[in-house]
Symmetry: C2
Subunit: 352 residues, 2 copies
């Protein structure tokens, strides 16, 4: 039986992951495939109970599992620790790196009933259907960093090897080919050497995919274009730090980051998590939006278990619940029927 | 007589700078202060005529001048040159660095009559009045960059000395104090060492400004918040690369980057330029929007010559012209009176 390691983590992570498992169990009830879920510690919860943000037991279980489902990590309680030990660096970035999850995929697909939740004009965001593909184990996040004394200064390094760029860009072309055939590579080649290298390799990989239309865009312009005319995009591929900014920005087209699921892949294994954080301010109140985690579960069925039909069932169930006017508080407008975290999970199960 | 070096540069830069000078001359007609304007070469135009993007004569004139007014640089014609020789790196970044213009100021103030030009909902963008303060001579743009052979890779370095951070943050507090008293420092301190250093120094500088309310925000969240709830911001201060992205993004709140002026300062001298690029596709057609350059002229009067009243006169004249329904094509909606570049310049002069 395939095994999935579940890492609820901190804050609302504790509340939203059970809802995703509830939905996954429901959709697999009559299926031949059964999945075994096994909970482990990560982040602040792991620091408190096991002394570090990514305990060995968690890492071993994740390495042995078929897939990982993660809630979210971090919170003010651990913000005073030295950075490398904190939930973010010591937990989340550490597990991404340890599992070589080099490709982070965040789909942004506008649902007609969410158009009103966006701060952008309806005519601008309706029909948005794009994917941001973010490099996740290199770039500015993982290059050498440190301090110097004379003069006092601090540095980080944005570094990419040819192979790191090639594998993520390759995936970009493959995804574009399966979608509308458009790939936009985002860089800052007018200033950065790593971006010029990125562009050279992208142009080289492009030769294998003549059917994909490749464009290049500077990151400052890309941020602007996502707000000005987002339907121009199909697949965006970019560096780790740029991707961090652009995925959050793109998620706002949907009105709330509470709807954005994500898959972090390496070809063999996948880690699935909502794009939002641990939201300590609303944790424990049963008001967090579990839909991004539920939709991350759908991505898990699609990418890790090849269960396209079951993935679609979950996605349609989520749409149906929204169509019926149910919302969590982050998405609610006057007149909507507001549900709590658990009730939203139940509603999705009922809609399946 | 104070001297201003004018660098029209490339593309629409050649069309918009004359309009700004026309307006500056008009507003100073009855003033005691007269300004002498002296044209010099920069960017692609300089490569073509003088063999390099920042000729010695230009740099010497800029160093000797009281202020610099720049159009824009770059274009496809020079994109095949090695990057360090191109108009952007060899011209624009080189003059910013040579004049130590460490502080780039871009005001984003919503005008009631432009609310309709924004892709964001009117209730989200009306009353936006913020300034992005971008560090301009350090960070990821200017650290060591290069390639390595084994394995093939490329890198850039994000490096800041304490002094570089201190002087820009200091300016941020001063600006916030003169405005609504709120400073938001944007970083990625959960991942980057340079950001943690930035935050430490910011906290230290903050002790001198107890009357300013300081907040910290991660750059991915800041991109999101600018679209979700932009009126929460007063002054934003941030690193060079983050500022590049956030200023362009913030400019979209106004519907067009064609309205965003900028001042690059070092305490003594200022360089003033529109935030937009050289737009080669529309160059030479008399359709470019000269307002960002005209408004940059107003910033020049304010910051370099302490002519607050004359600066306000220009800003009010621009508002009046827009109020009367005149627009350049980038801002036009059905029913607007569309003006060409020169005609817009004339309209502002008439409104003075
Ligand atoms: C928590 C943080 C380290 C993380 C990142 O920057 O990668 C988050 O913003 C994300 O996008 O998953
Ligand atoms: C042209 C380019 C090098 C420049 C920059 O990135 O600084 C531009 O985008 C700007 O913001 O002034």
């Amino acid at each position: 039986m395939p095994k999935v390691v579940v890492l609820p983590g901190d804050g609302i992570g504790q509340e939203i992951t059970p809802e995703a498992i509830k939905v996954l169990n429901a959709v697999l009830k009559d299926s031949a495939v059964k999945i075994e879920f096994e909970n482990h510690l990560i982040g602040g919860a792991a620091i408190d109970e096991a002394g570090k943000a990514l305990p060995d037991a968690t890492l071993e279980a994740a390495l042995a599992a078929d897939a990982v489902l993660l809630g979210s990590v971090g919170g003010p309680k651990w913000d005073t620790l030295p950075a490398p030990q904190r939930p973010e660096l010591g937990g989340l970035l550490a597990i991404r790196k340890a599992l070589t999850l080099f490709a982070n995929i965040r789909p942004v697909k506008m649902l007609p009933m969410l158009v009103e939740a966006s701060t952008l004009r309806p005519e601008v965001v309706q029909n948005v259907d794009l994917v941001v593909l973010r490099e996740l184990t290199g770039g500015l996040y993982f290059g050498e960093k440190g301090r110097t004394k004379n003069p006092p200064s601090a540095f980080d390094t944005l570094i990419y090897s040819e192979e790191e760029i090639r594998r993520i860009v390759e995936l970009g072309f493959q995804m574009a080919r399966q979608r509308r055939g458009k790939l936009c590579s985002v860089d800052k080649a007018n200033v950065l050497e790593s971006s010029r290298f990125w562009r050279e390799i992208t142009l080289d990989v492009a030769q294998k995919y003549p059917e994909v239309e490749l464009t290049h865009m500077y990151v400052d312009n890309a941020a602007m274009q996502l707000v000005r005319y987002p339907t121009q995009f199909d697949v965006i591929v970019t560096e780790n730090m740029f991707g961090d900014i652009l995925t959050d920005l793109a998620s706002m087209l949907m009105g709330s980051i509470g709807m954005i699921s994500s898959a972090s892949l390496n070809g063999k294994k996948g880690l699935y998590e909502p794009a939002h954080g641990s939201a300590p301010d609303i944790a424990g109140k049963n008001i967090a939006n579990p839909l991004a985690t539920i939709l991350s579960g759908a991505l898990m069925l699609r990418y890790s278990f090849d269960l396209e039909e079951e993935a679609k069932l979950i996605e349609r169930a989520v749409e149906r619940v929204l169509e019926e006017g149910y919302r969590t508080t982050d998405l609610a407008k006057p007149g909507d029927k507001v549900l709590g975290t658990r009730e939203m999970g139940d509603a999705v199960v009922a809609a399946l």
